[in-house]
Amino acid sequence: MNWIWSNSDYILDKTIVHLGLSVPPVILAFVISLPIGWAANRFTRLRGVVLAVAGLFYAVPSFALLVVLPGLIGYSIRSNTNLIIGLTLYGIALMVRSVADGLQSVEADVRQSATAVGYSGWQRFWRVEIPLAGPVLLAGLRVVLVSTISLATVGGILGINGLGLLFNDGLQRDIMAEIVAGIVLTIVMALVLDGLLVLLGRALMPWTRGRSATRTGTPTVARQKVVAP
């Protein structure tokens, strides 16, 4: 424990760097998944293909991907860009399904009424479909956020900055406190950011407030997120 107090600066620095490397991929993944998920939903033939590819991609082990990517994109293994690209790709693989499923859950009747009232396709998408798909999108985004933060620690073994470095150093020098600090901070960061995301969701979607997930009220889709990323 003493070790943690005397090295708190170092630990804090690693935490901040980790934050800076985990959050951008999540945002990027979300933004990039929207058009892909929309296309998968709109063109039924594309849906199967896109989801299958996304599923396969998520199967690719993270460590292996971080090694293979530099060969493809030219950045060095150790570079932060490598990690961010890898994390973003995983985020997209996870998020695409949420976007597709969320958009699919918007009933045809609602879509038709929106058109009847006068919304154009674009307006309908942003003002009706996305807000209604919101809760599903949020569930997916939460999963992406938490897994990205955890996955970013893998970079440490390759020498990429972040909380993962604590694991490597702790192993070499036999400092269990350091490894524990890394584990705890990763989990805490994930929980805190997840909580923030939930609050953000409530702020952006006031109509979902006050609704708790009852057994029958939780749709199969959200449960799928837990089971098969």
């Binding site: 070790w3 005397s6 090295n7 170092y10 901040i16 760097v17 934050l19 800076g20 490397l21 959050v23 951008p24 945002i27 950045y75 060095s76 293994i77 150790r78 570079s79 932060n80 860009t81 490598n82 961010i84 003002r127 009706v128 807000p131 390759l158 020498g159 990429i160 900055n161 470095l165 490597n168 150093d169 192993l171 070499q172 020098r173 036999d174 400092i175 953000l200 702020a203 952006l204």
Partner: protein, 311 residues
């Protein structure tokens, strides 16, 4: 139904939220995309000092850093860089200015076929093998090379004190070593061809640290490759086997500098290496491994003791 008011509120909230997240990420690390593929070399007289992903190497780098700072140089630290293929190009291009290295391994990196044996030979060969833009300063007496170790009991029971004795051992020999050892000329291939010993290798990637030592002491492996500067050897009463054929490559500490490092700075760095002996390095490592002190503290104490922090 989303009214115009709600839509406006949504957009604003959304924008603020995303903006906040981006700003947080942005100011969280000054430029997450830069440190790694292009380190900040700062203005004219800031020297960038790097280190390997090895705690002992970081201590040496910190020694250089603090010594330079004491003489008025500005220093930017970029520690825990993983691979040579990453930091050597950065050294060549001037993005990193000073890097503590080890003569044998660095020579091997540039010239796989090298045959130099003694520390002096290796140092000379290295100077010749380095590309333009990189200079090796004078190597320190301190070295941190591979060494094959056994437990005291094993050594006494089987009368083994040298690598040459190993072939007399009748049981199976398992070697616990860092992953790269398997393909080095002084690894299992060398043990076989030079000393006639067959070993099976178990890779352990803790830099010859606690896991490797534990594997040795609890019998999972009989032989362990531990770096000579590690305090764990004496702490655990291990016996380092002699290497009469000089199979193992010497690894003296040698600073590699870019062209940006002027002769005054070079002298400062040389002054550190001039006093760094093998036992000194062991003690520094012990402070890190056993006492868990940070490299900054260890460096400061050592330099003060040697009088190198007076400007």
């Amino acid at each position: 139904m989303i009214t115009a008011n709600k839509k406006g509120r949504l957009t604003v909230l959304g924008a603020v939220a995303i903006g906040a997240m981006v700003a947080l990420a942005g100011c969280a690390s000054s430029d997450p995309l830069s440190s790694g593929d292009s380190s900040a070399s700062g203005d004219g007289d800031t020297l960038v000092i790097g280190s390997q992903q090895y705690y002992s190497n970081e201590i040496i780098a910190e020694l250089y850093a603090q010594a330079l700072e004491a003489k008025g140089y500005k220093v930017d630290r970029q520690y825990q860089i993983g691979q040579r293929e990453v930091y050597l190009p950065e050294l060549e291009s001037g993005k990193i200015d000073v890097f503590p290295e080890y003569t044998g391994n660095l020579l091997q990196y540039y010239d796989k076929e090298e045959t130099a044996k003694s520390p002096e030979e290796v140092e000379t060969a290295l100077a010749a093998a380095l590309p333009d833009g990189l200079t090796a300063l004078k190597a320190a007496a301190a070295s941190d090379q591979d060494s094959y170790n056994v437990t005291k009991e094993f050594s006494e029971e089987n009368d083994i004190t040298s690598l040459a004795d190993l072939k007399n051992y009748s049981g199976t020999l398992t070697l616990g070593a860092p992953p790269e050892n398997a393909e080095r000329p002084y690894g299992p291939p060398g043990l076989k061809s030079i000393y006639g010993v067959d070993v099976t290798s178990t890779p352990i990637d803790d830099g010859g640290g606690p896991l490797t030592v534990k594997a040795l002491t609890d019998g999972s492996v009989q032989l362990a490759d531990i770096y000579t500067a590690s305090p764990l050897i004496t702490e655990n009463d291990l016996v380092t086997l002699e290497d009469p054929e000089n199979m193992i490559l010497p690894q003296n500490v040698v600073p590699i500098v870019s062209d940006k490092v002027d002769s005054d700075a070079q002298d400062v760095i040389d002054s550190v290496d001039a006093v760094l002996s093998a036992s000194d390095l062991q003690q520094l490592n012990s402070k890190s491994q056993t006492d868990k002190e940070s490299s900054a503290t260890i460096a400061k104490d050592y330099l003060t003791e040697k009088g190198l922090l007076d400007s």
